[in-house]
Structures are given as C-alpha cells and as structure tokens.
Symmetry: C2
C-alpha cells in the first residue's frame, strides 16, 4: 500500500472497490485525469445537463451515463461508479445525510451519473511549465471563493460561480493563460485576473472553502472556475436525492490529462 | 430588399418574421453566426442533449432553451424561434410532413429548442486566410457524405457521422487545421484528412447530400463533422414530432463568428 503512487488507475480503483482505500486521491495516478461526481434521479437530469451546457467553465462534463447505467464507457472500460470512488456524500433535499464507502444499496434504475473535469489536470501542466502552484507547494487545499458572478440558470438549478485562486508571478500570467486554455474540459482558461473585488471577493485570506495560501510580492491572484459551483447549485435546488464524491475523493479515470487538451 | 446583404441580423430576422424573406440565408449578415435548429418534445430532450454532449463535433450546441421557451437569450435578445427562421421542416415519426414559414400554430408548452453551430462560421475565417472554399467558389452547396464512423449513441438517438468535404491545397492543410480548431463550437478541426476510403466514403464525385465540387491537382480532401449528423439521428429515432430549419434556411444570430472562437 505504501507504493500506491506507483499503481495504475485500474489497480487503484480495484483497491477502492475492495474498500482498501478511502482517503483523498490527490497525487495518485499522476498523469491521469480525475473527475468530480454528481448523481441525480432522471427527473432532474435534463435540467442539470442543461445547467452544465450553459456553464461549461465551472461544469465541464467529461462523461454522462444513461439512466441506470453505472459503468463508464469513455473515462474507463471497467469502472463501476457505485464502488470505485473512495467516499461518497449522500444528500436528501439538499442536506448531507451521510458519507459512505459505496452506494450499491442506494442504487436505483433511474439514477443518472455525471462526471466533471477537475483542475488537477491543468495543475500538472502548470508545474511542468515551471509555473508555481502555491497550495501544492504549501501542502494545502486550493483556496475557493464564492463570487458575485451568477451562473446561467437552467430549470431548478441556479447559483453563484465558485472559483479557485492561484497566485501567479506577473511575468508568468500569459503562459498560465495559454497552458490552461488547452484544457477546456477541465475548467480551461482563467475567468478573472487581478483585483478580487471585481468579482465580489472581499478577502483573499478568508476563502469560503479550502485554505488560504501565501501571495508573494510581484504575484497576481488568478481565478479559475471551480467544480464546487455545480455542487452549490445542486444543494440549493434541494433534489430528493443527490450523491456526490466526498471533497477530494475523486474518480480516477484511464484518460491521460494530455488526452483532454484541445491541442 | 435588394440590399438585404447590408442589413443587420435583427433587421433580417424582422423581415423573416413578417414573411418577407423565405429563401436560404447563406451570404446574409456576413460576420454573424448562423445556427441549425432542432425542436423536440420534452420527453426526448434529455436523450438528444446527451447525444450532443457525446458527439460535440457533429453536434456543437450553441444554445438550448428551457421547455416551452421560444425566445433565445444567448444568441439574440429579441429573437422568436417560432417565426424568425425562413422555412421550417416538420417531421412526424421521422417523416417529413410539411415545410412551413412559421410554427406558431404548432407550438406547444413542452417543446425544447436546440440551436447548433454551422460551418458557415469557420468558412469565413478560412476565406480571410486565403484558404480556398471550393463550393463557395463554384456557387454550389457543400458536398456531404455519410461515413462509417458511428456516433456515440444516447438513449433513442444513434447513427453515422455525416461529414462535409473541402479540397485544400496540400501546403495549406496545416493552416486550415489551425484556423478551424479555433471554432470548436461550430464543428472545429477536421475529423479526417486524406483517403476518403478510410472513413467509408467510396466516391467523392457522388456526395450523399449537396453537390460534387472540383478537386484540383495537389489538393487533398479534408473532412469536417457536419450538422446533418443530428438530423439523421433524429429522423432514425422517429420521434412523434420534430421541427428543424429547412436545409440552408438558418437562424441568424447576433453573435459574431469571432465571438465563437476559442482564442
């Protein structure tokens, strides 16, 4: 188990499926894309798919399964969405009911699974280009902020855009924009560069989620759309049932981050 | 009316709405994006939205309206989808029932409107870069071919990918790929370059739709995903009702083609 960093996505999913790994997935299967999970009953699925279509930067869809399907096709050929995620959050009417290690007993024929891209994918590309990723350097969770930017609503789903912040040296901002632009299916290019107040953020030292990070002299705060956005929209909509991954406990796919790049 | 080429999208939609223009829209409102139309009852909408999500190259969604909505928000702030398209095709159970100039009498509260990108947008960018667009030079409709590439199915929707073909001088292929890559929301980069047999096309002189065009010495056939693909999938699925634009009679939006470019 100490060598889990060396395992393939398939081997890691296998451990998770057997209940032998229930911790966060950051740093595992480097090079491979990880995905956020949202599961909703069929009656909410069109609205949520439409919400993602209208808000592709915070809600970049990697794969959507047919109602009742629990095997992925695109992200992996052998994954079972009911067992292959280390921890799940179960929400009823928008309230967290529990955190579980598999959802086999909760599975129903009308459940629709959405898998969304995650910024781990472009952070790896930033590091390769020697662009600092401060929260990784400092061993923290990325700082996240609720902005005053409204998402485009769709059916019952609406809410503010949540963003992540990474401090970037001013002479590397152009390169950071270029690199993350290639990864449109994992949040893509920044949505804002510079003054936090412009997008309704009052204090960079007090993130709404995650941890504050150091901003050094000569660095500019750069903001990317964040996968917490659809979670906030789903919680606000209070569907009868919603299952997500527990924060940081992602689905590990067989797709290389590089395969997600536009070109 | 002879100066229709000089009118704005809003002015042209106004003429169309009054029944004063029922002809094809190619060459109108140059610089502005035109869109394909598909309208389906709500019960088919999730499957079709999923089909588009899984097949973004042939089915690039520009805007999807809520059930019953007939006013666009993103593509225009004053358009009425029931009247602002020069001609509509009405299909029942996959069969063409009629061609009409507006669909006010057919409108129902559960109809969902999908507007999809069209290659007019990137052809304009090609011409600006001095890349020949043969069917425009020859005053023809673009040649379209049914390939043996299967789209990813979604619910009741499935079918082959249909492609357009443009002959490109071999020293301009790289540039043609680069330019069309920028327009991911209007079919984007080519899906195939070269030998037609590789994607199941037998005879370039006999397109399945549109007109054959001249391929000159030193030119290579280049293939892009085509918006006829979703129409074929919809026809095969035989929904109770489906309304589309009549071929060539598109929705003219207020969005500049340039606004659709990735960067």
């Amino acid at each position: 188990m100490k060598n889990i960093q060396q395992l393939t996505p398939k081997q890691i999913r296998n451990l998770i499926r057997k209940g032998k790994w229930d911790r966060p997935t950051a740093g595992l299967a480097m090079g491979y894309a990880q995905a956020n999970l949202v599961i909703l009953p069929r009656r909410y699925a069109f609205d949520f798919l439409l919400f993602c279509q209208r808000n592709p930067k915070p809600c970049p869809l990697l794969e959507v399964l047919e109602p009742g399907e629990f095997k992925t096709r695109f992200l992996s050929s052998d994954a079972d969405i009911r067992t292959d995620i280390p921890r799940y959050n179960v929400y009823r009417k928008g309230k967290l009911e529990g955190r579980v290690k598999n959802i086999k007993s909760l599975w129903e024929k009308d459940l629709v699974t959405f898998l969304l891209g995650c910024s781990f994918s472009f952070e790896e590309a930033m590091l390769r280009s020697k662009i600092p990723v401060r929260h990784i350097e400092e061993g923290k969770n990325v700082p996240m902020f609720v902005t005053h930017i409204r998402c485009k609503s769709a059916g019952i789903f609406r809410g503010p855009m949540v963003v992540t912040m990474r401090p970037i040296p001013s002479d590397k901002i152009t390169r950071a924009v270029q690199i993350t632009s290639r990864y449109a299916s994992v949040h893509g290019a920044p949505i804002h560069i510079g003054d936090p107040a412009t997008i309704g953020i009052k204090n960079l030292k007090k993130p709404d989620f995650g941890d504050p990070v150091t901003i050094k002299k000569g660095e500019v705060p750069v903001f990317w759309a964040c996968g917490v956005t659809p979670q906030v929209a789903v919680t606000k909509a209070r569907p009868d049932l919603c299952i997500t991954h527990a924060p940081g406990h992602m689905f590990i796919s067989d797709l290389l981050n590089e395969e997600l790049a536009i070109f």
